[in-house]
């Protein structure tokens, strides 16, 4: 599987916590990245469209706790969760490799 784009990883991470609508995903991505990534609705829905085509995300018909019933909610499929795990493994290996070269994230002690 080729590496996933930052937009895809962040959207999938947001959905890994539970079903979300588009704007909740948008806000999640901002929070996850400490405001570094600010996607607009077009990027979010374009990403969701690709993820649904890949079978990694699906639209839910009945959200567990509907806040706004006009909203459409999305959730990760089992395949999506597996793909995200694979990507996290890849990123983890990358971090380990970086650490082996004594490249540590800024601000960390190890």
């Amino acid at each position: 599987m080729p590496p996933l784009t930052p937009a895809v990883v962040h959207v999938m991470l947001s959905l890994a916590a539970g079903e979300r609508h588009g704007y909740a995903i948008l806000k999640d991505v901002q929070r996850q990245s400490n405001q570094a990534l600010r996607f607009g609705p077009g990027t979010i829905y374009g990403t969701l469209q690709r993820l649904m085509e890949a079978g990694w995300v699906e639209e839910t018909t009945a959200p567990a706790a509907p806040v706004d019933e006009r909203r459409r909610y999305y959730r990760l499929t089992r395949g999506g969760r597996a793909a995200l795990s694979e990507e996290v493994d890849r990123l983890s290996s990358l971090v380990q490799l970086a650490r082996s070269h004594r490249i540590a994230p800024r601000g960390s002690k190890g």
């Binding site: 609508h21 588009g22 704007y23 948008l26 600010r38 996607f39 607009g40 609705p41 077009g42 990027t43 979010i44 829905y45 374009g46 969701l48 469209q49 006009r70 909203r71 459409r72």
Partner: protein
């Protein structure tokens, strides 16, 4: 649901700009995008910082422009239009080459010649446009038209 024309200008502009997206994408996500835009705008205004509003406007403009380009590329319509234009130009070139071989008696007066020249140029442009439309319809024949739907907030 609020009709689009009763909403603030920024929302109306964004709603109108969504029509630049391919119809299938707009039908599927247009309503949600407009709703998200309204919420994001409210959040930016609630921050009370003019820079936040400006940043929001720039971010939304860039996002929509990117989306329009990416989504049209994904439909393949740009490639179809380029192919159709190429075919149309080839057809017109062939026609022009054919017409050049035929002997035509030009009008004696300069004014009539100018008129004839303008008519010929317009005809060529019309043929190019018409052939592009015909070829585009021909190539994109598999893409079926779907009923139009109004965006609602």
């Amino acid at each position: 649901m609020t009709p689009l024309r009763r909403l603030p200008v920024a929302i109306r502009i964004y709603g109108a700009a969504l029509w630049l997206c391919p119809p299938s994408f707009r039908r599927q996500y247009g309503d949600q995008m407009l709703r998200d835009f309204v919420e994001a705008r409210d959040d930016a205004r609630a921050a009370g910082d003019p820079r936040a509003v400006r940043r929001f406007a720039a971010q939304m403009t860039i996002d929509l422009a990117r989306t329009v380009v990416i989504q049209w590329i994904r439909t393949g319509a740009i490639a179809v239009a380029a192919g159709a234009m190429l075919c149309a130009l080839s057809l017109v070139s062939a026609l022009v080459a054919f017409v050049q071989r035929i002997h035509v008696d030009l009008p004696p007066r300069a004014l009539e010649f100018d008129v004839l020249f303008v008519v010929l140029i317009i005809s060529v442009i019309v043929v190019i446009i018409a052939s592009t439309i015909i070829f585009t319809q021909w190539f994109a024949g598999s893409i079926r038209r779907q009923p139009r739907r109004r965006l609602r907030y």
